[in-house]
């Protein structure tokens, strides 16, 4: 008996020990050294060969475009070597970044979502880019800064400091089947009411009016914003799941699903899949799906895209990652990383990246470059995402916000499956989500 108790005790100690290891936060003491570095003067010239490790999740055509740009950069800057390291999908990349942060092994720079970067900013691990931007020799002019759509720069600003530069951005748009609209004599909807009636009118036989993505957690943002609300407040770090605005948004989506004129992607995985097969008249998806739809489309599919229909406002959701430089590198490495960030977001390079991938250029003047102009003429659908910068916004960045939104997504699935009322689901999502947010703070 005594032996068993001892064994049990040892086991408990061990398990908690392990979990404890995992949750060990990076303390101020650990970052003291790096903080000192941040205050130090930045390097403005690279005299010795310098290596910059850039972790990313770009695959296929996207990776090829990135490699081509890195090669071009290295030819122009022979002293800087950019090591592009593919770290799997976003999930794997972020998990690895987290592990590396805890082991003090962060790369020089990375591709990252702002809602993930907020944790690193809070731990003082990210390089403030303002000194670089403001520097005359290596920085950006006021004109250049104004050339970045404000919503993209804002996504990388915390407490007035620029911690990230925009990288691969896209917009959530409404794809529609032009022929089906023509045949039914319908216009592309501009408001929720029009949208609802259009979806109902186009649902016929094995064609459904509208398809949404499977997990409406982070993607719920545009409808809430268009109803005058938000998913959470970044300033007070509180969730706004159980609010009249959220209820209006969820109620609208649910009414479409319940009356049979809309569905989630389900087994198709992505909403663009049934749309490309001509089995949906409309779908809501990212503009990064454009090349995929082109590839998947059944013969003769005539399609185009439009901004999402509005409600009280016409806010449009943009998403995508930024590039951030960690402050753990040497001054030269950080300078190399800044120069590469600046290079990637120059009008001609971001235009090149956008042309070869499905993403949006992150500079307004990119559409004036000869190549991209020609590209837009050949692919007019790509111009859609360039037209809503002024009414665009990006998702919230609260630490643990993704976990809370995942919970909201779970609750919404119950609503869409008719297993829970909207009121009940939102109340539960608020409670469970708040717990997740609290939990994340401890990390």
């Amino acid at each position: 008996m005594k032996q068993k108790l001892l064994a049990l005790l040892l086991m408990v100690v061990m398990i908690f020990g392990l979990v404890g290891c995992n949750q060990k936060p990076v303390t101020k003491e650990e970052t003291e050294e790096t903080k000192g570095k941040e205050l130090a003067e930045i390097a403005t010239e690279i005299t010795e060969p310098t290596e910059v490790n850039f972790w990313h999740s770009m695959q296929g055509d996207n990776e090829e475009a990135l490699i081509a740009l890195a090669d071009k950069f290295m030819t122009e800057n022979p002293k800087i070597k950019i090591n592009l390291v593919f770290q799997g999908g976003y999930r794997e990349l972020f998990e690895k970044l987290m592990a590396s942060a805890k082991a003090n092994q962060l790369p020089t720079m990375t591709q990252i979502y702002s809602n993930r970067l907020s944790w690193y900013v809070s731990k003082d691990l990210v390089e403030n880019l303002n000194p670089y931007i403001e520097n005359e020799a290596i920085g950006l002019t006021d004109e250049e800064i104004a050339d970045y759509p404000a919503l993209f720069l804002d996504d990388g600003i915390w407490d007035g400091k620029q911690y990230a530069m925009p990288f691969n951005k896209s917009q959530m748009v409404l794809y529609y089947n032009v022929d089906m609209f023509k045949k039914a004599g319908l216009e592309v909807p501009k408001t929720w009411e029009e949208w609802k009636s259009t979806a109902a009118a186009l649902t016929k036989g094995d064609v459904i009016g509208l398809v949404f993505a499977n997990n409406l957690s982070t993607d719920i943002a545009p409808w809430v914003k268009q109803s005058g609300g938000a998913t959470m407040s970044e300033k007070d770090n509180v969730l706004l799941f159980d609010t009249p605005e959220m209820k209006e948004a969820v109620g609208f989506l649910n009414s479409l699903i319940q009356d049979g004129s809309a569905r989630l992607a389900g087994e198709d995985k992505n909403p663009n899949v049934p749309f490309s097969q001509g089995k949906a008249a409309m779908c809501v998806a990212s503009t990064s799906a454009i090349s995929r739809i082109e590839k998947d489309a059944v013969e003769g599919l005539n399609w185009f895209a439009a901004p999402l229909p509005g409600n009280k406002t016409n806010d449009q959701l943009y998403y995508g990652t930024n590039i951030a430089v960690f402050n753990t590198g040497t001054p030269e490495e950080k300078l190399g990383a800044w120069l590469f960030s600046k290079f990637l977001t120059s009008p001609e390079n971001t235009a090149y990246f956008a042309e070869n991938t499905g993403y949006v250029p992150v500079r307004k003047s990119a559409k004036e470059t000869e190549d991209y102009k020609k590209h837009l003429e050949e692919n007019p659908v790509k111009a859609v995402a360039l037209e809503s910068f002024d009414i665009g916004f990006q998702g919230t960045r609260n630490i643990g916000g993704i976990n809370a939104l995942d919970i909201l997504g779970e609750e919404l699935d119950l609503v869409f499956a008719n297993e829970k009322s909207v009121d009940e689901a939102l109340k539960d999502a608020q409670e469970r989500g708040t717990r997740a947010l609290e939990e994340a703070k401890k990390n």
Partner: protein, 274 residues
Amino acid sequence: MMKRIISKFTTYTILIIGALFILVPFIWMLSTSLKPYNEVLIMPPKFIPSKFMWENYRIALEAAPFKRYFLNSLFVTTMITMGEILTAILAAFAFSNLNFKGKDILFTVLMGTMMVPSEVLTIPNFVTLSKLKWIDTYKALIIPWCASIYSIFLLKQHFQSIPKELYYASKVDGCKDFKFLWTMIVPLSKPAIVTLTLLKVIGSWNSFMWPLIVTNSDKLRTLPVALSAFSNEVGTDYNILMAATNLIIIPIMILYIFLQKHIIVGISKSGIKG
């Protein structure tokens, strides 16, 4: 006579249905790997592609440095399997045949570690390895996997089923523990060891997350990492993915064909299935 026919008929029907359940996904994978892109998701599904796209295999092979990944997978899997089987045999023997202080407590504690989900361990393990400066080396890919409590437990149970009389008799004849282990226990436990080997080979061959996390350079990455190149947030190139998957599973298939006899004995004796 009639009864026998009915019973045979029932048995075969059940077996055929079971075989179909296992074979259809496999055939589907083969057929998808040869389809043109636009036939992958069409309804009703097509088992025979309108045009055989052998090209898919070429595209798959060109998408990643397969040769390097293949050699890495082969090396890492071989080392891990050998390491684990060796440590499992030694530890299982100690737990089943030897008497030492704290044996039961130690075993319970080891069993306790099986209750910790592996996801929880990723970050602490990464931190440990980076402190040892093992990140981006073969050591990180191999050494952490060279011991498994599950294998120790399984072998211990098997070793215990071997009559103790054999052990005592060998002791009387002056046989040392180590010799007894290698000349008696290991040959008698061949089916269990083969089963473990195969499970381990499949596990490490397919392992994705760990090799990706502990390596940064292409020259150290393994085959499953190559598979991740065919899907992203907006969709998956199923035909190319299936072509690559077919290429990757060939070695496992060959191994299975060679070890089939032992595996079946192993499964029926140890009651463990893959």
